[in-house]
Symmetry: C2
Subunit: 476 residues, 2 copies
């Protein structure tokens, strides 16, 4: 009997749909490739492709360039996205210092499931290849890397970073760059270069607690700006603040923001640079998550539109290759000479051998190859985590749907205090990041940040389920 292809592809699609309904296949899972399906089922390519098209048209699966087909978020329950923040200008009475210290302290316990910190799991890192590059660096560096490097930083590394900057329209050359001991060190050097005690800086809200604590420690006033959970800082609010307040510096995490996962649309980036140029206010742009996009192309940066050198662009490989290497950098625009002098005074130079290893790794497309895999894993994780939150968290839970990076920002019902939830969860060896860590004001008490850097397992799903139950109890 002759095959009836029209029926066949629908049969295949129905079979896959049933697997999704039965949760044999779950949100974020990768489907077998078309080629594999052909081989396994004994059908031809076009049949399988048609079946996949069918599923895609019904939003059950989605295609991801150069990676394949993935099961979409279960349409059953989609959670709302948290609303824009509206920070007041009043500082909180309490200070999240102790909370932050507690979360850090607990995180050193190896039994803890670390959903609190944005640290890449070792399984995500190309450890064997880095070790190979390390042995190579020992052989090729004069004195095997025991000598001081240039104050500005390893020249080879700066060249590779400059080449790489073309991916986000950076167009830098090695002379524009200064290496640092990670991205926070870059931000710290920028603030030390640009500010004095008592100055005011403008930043998103919620914002990465590391930057808030750094600014506070330096005696800076922090102006937390209304921020949209999807598109970042509210431009109108920034415009108003610039015209009204004496803002010395603006700090933004423009892509896949920590903690919100928000990304500024390209038009917003352009507009922010235009505004800051107008008011002659420098921008410290932290782009540490920029390479971890889930979409088809690298997002731009504010630095891409900086013509007068007011953007100090900070980045590192701490989220993509090796946090322990302490390799970061800054393109400080017109503040370069000041920043190099400051680096010399504060730490002389960067670690020679780890800089060389990263330079070596960036060469010949190895970094891009590694990132491609890492992005897929993080994307798949993000879907699985969101899906689990939708399944197990109380009614009224909102969650962001980031297009890259490491973090979900979760907004629970007003009645749930996530600092108390932390204390409950840590009893079960689960660590989360309560919302209060991400502000110096009284807000986000019902929010938390969840990192999806840990590999997805059945055990992890149980942990998220437990977290949902604890949140539910905390509401009662």
């Amino acid at each position: 009997m002759e095959e009836q292809p029209a029926y066949l592809y629908l049969q295949i699609a129905a079979r896959i749909e049933k697997q999704i309904q039965d949760e044999v296949l779950r949100a974020g899972d990768k489907l077998p490739s078309v080629r594999t399906m052909c081989r396994e089922l004994g059908h031809n390519m076009s049949t399988i492709t048609q079946a996949y098209y069918e599923l895609e048209s019904r939003s059950l699966i989605e295609t991801r360039p150069r990676s394949g087909y993935y099961v979409c978020l279960t349409p059953g329950r989609r959670l709302a996205i948290p609303s824009s923040s509206s920070p007041s200008s009043k500082d909180a009475k309490g200070n999240p210092d102790d909370l932050i210290s507690k979360v850090h302290q607990d995180s050193t316990n190896p039994d803890i499931t670390l959903l609190s910190l944005g640290v890449p799991d070792t399984s995500l890192l190309p450890v064997a290849k880095l070790n190979k590059a390390m042995v190579h660096a020992m052989r090729s560096l004069p004195g095997s890397g025991t000598s001081y490097d240039q104050v500005q930083g390893n020249e080879k590394l700066r060249k590779e970073i400059a080449k790489w900057s073309i991916t986000w329209g950076g167009n830098l050359n090695e002379k524009d760059l200064v290496t640092t001991s990670g991205c926070m060190n870059a931000v710290a050097y920028c603030l030390l270069t640009l500010t004095q005690r008592g100055d005011t800086i403008a930043i998103e809200s919620p914002a990465y607690f590391g930057i808030l604590q750094l600014a506070k420690g330096m005696g800076l006033k922090v102006l937390e700006m209304p921020t949209n959970a999807s598109t970042g800082i509210e431009i109108e609010a920034l415009k108003k603040a610039l015209s009204k307040d004496k803002i010395k510096v603006c700090i933004l995490v423009s892509n896949f923001n920590n903690p919100c996962g928000s990304s500024m649309p390209t038009e917003h980036k352009k507009e922010v640079v235009r505004l800051l140029e107008h008011y002659q206010v420098p921008l410290i742009e932290d782009d540490i998550y920029g390479d971890l996009y889930f979409g088809t192309s690298r997002p731009s940066t504010c630095k891409s539109f900086d013509e007068s050198g007011i953007v100090l662009y900070c980045n590192s490989i701490s989220k993509t290759l090796a946090p322990g290497y302490r390799v970061g950098w800054v393109a400080p625009g017109k503040y370069k000479d000041q920043l190099i002098r400051l680096k010399l005074n504060h730490s002389i130079s960067s670690t020679t051998i780890t800089s060389e290893v990263v330079a070596d790794f960036l060469k010949n497309g190895r970094y891009e190859n590694h990132l491609r895999k890492m992005r897929q894993t993080l994307y798949s994780n993000s879907i699985k985590y969101i899906s689990a939150i939708a399944r197990y968290f109380p009614e009224g839970t909102k969650v962001t749907q980031p297009q890259g990076g490491y973090f979900l920002w979760i907004e629970l019902e007003k009645s749930i205090d996530t600092t108390l939830l932390y204390d409950q969860a840590i009893k079960y060896n689960i660590s989360i990041a309560p919302g209060r860590m991400f502000t110096l004001q009284e807000q986000f008490d019902n929010c938390l940040r969840l990192s999806f850097g840990l590999p997805w397992t059945g055990d992890l799903e149980k942990k998220i389920k437990l977290l949902g139950t604890l949140a539910l109890q905390a509401r009662l």
Copy 2:
């Protein structure tokens, strides 16, 4: 005929004396061991030993414990030691920033003979053994050192440093220590912890330009104190300043000071700590050269006498093992919690793998073995350099005779401007450190610092001779 030992040892002594007179053997040269001489000359041990005693009693050679016999400084011409400094309280009109930048910039040229910077020559470093430890660290560290280390620093390293502190009466334990990215980074973190813009710090004069520039960059006022070229800061002057001025912090390089080579006598250390305790002024002690003593034992530190936690003790392995590793530490006394928080904000953690390598190297006496050789080489170098300066530099030259470390401080006649001498010398690819780098005031224009870290060679001697000639010309 029977041998006449009394004559024989004198004959041997006379032969060696002639070699010294003929400059076949020169100041700082090591004599063959007693055992080797026995074998070579076919005499017995006691004869050779007696010959060496004879030369020692005539101050031609000297014995150094666990190392052997060395030719003393040629008695022909001994240079005077520079006098105590007497800085005014007026700041200079000009600033040595540009001079310092020029010296740094020139130093990156590989053709330059680098007498300016205190950087250990690679030949002094145990590179092969460090590489072995690096491979070991890659194997033993979880994730091969790609992960963040503890904020306070690698625990193994802190344990080893704590053990090592017994050599200077430190009696620390690992909880007392925080690792940093080198010693200057430790000093910078101390200053960021303790001071605010506008505060006054007291320091030796001349002082290491890195600390002066750091302080100036932070907006601090620097009170340069009268300092003795042999015994360091003048206690009476410090006492007076403490009672009169509002000093927020004192910074001292207590052993083998940079640039003077001065070392505070133990009684001075005790007295300074007592004084600072009385006035409740914290002391940042930079002991980076302390392990490089030429005498029989490790000198004490101010920290050795600190009972109330006011001394913040800074050190690193940048002068002894591997500057490029960026491994340093601080024992911050009662300021520990503040400093750890500051480190977290500014750089999160130290480089994991280089910390581990240093920890590994400190174990099992390998560091001590390495230091023993390094100290002998530096001692021998110091004698050869001083000897060459005595030979080739103009009349009226004064030079320190440090008992450890890396540096000679040379005072020329008042009429010689060492900043101009720098410009002359660099034409011949020789780099020196002009005295003006080491003060923010108008002083030391006729002084320079010379590092004796480069291995002694005939070519190097020619360079020092040339330097002497240029100085002579500069006087005319």
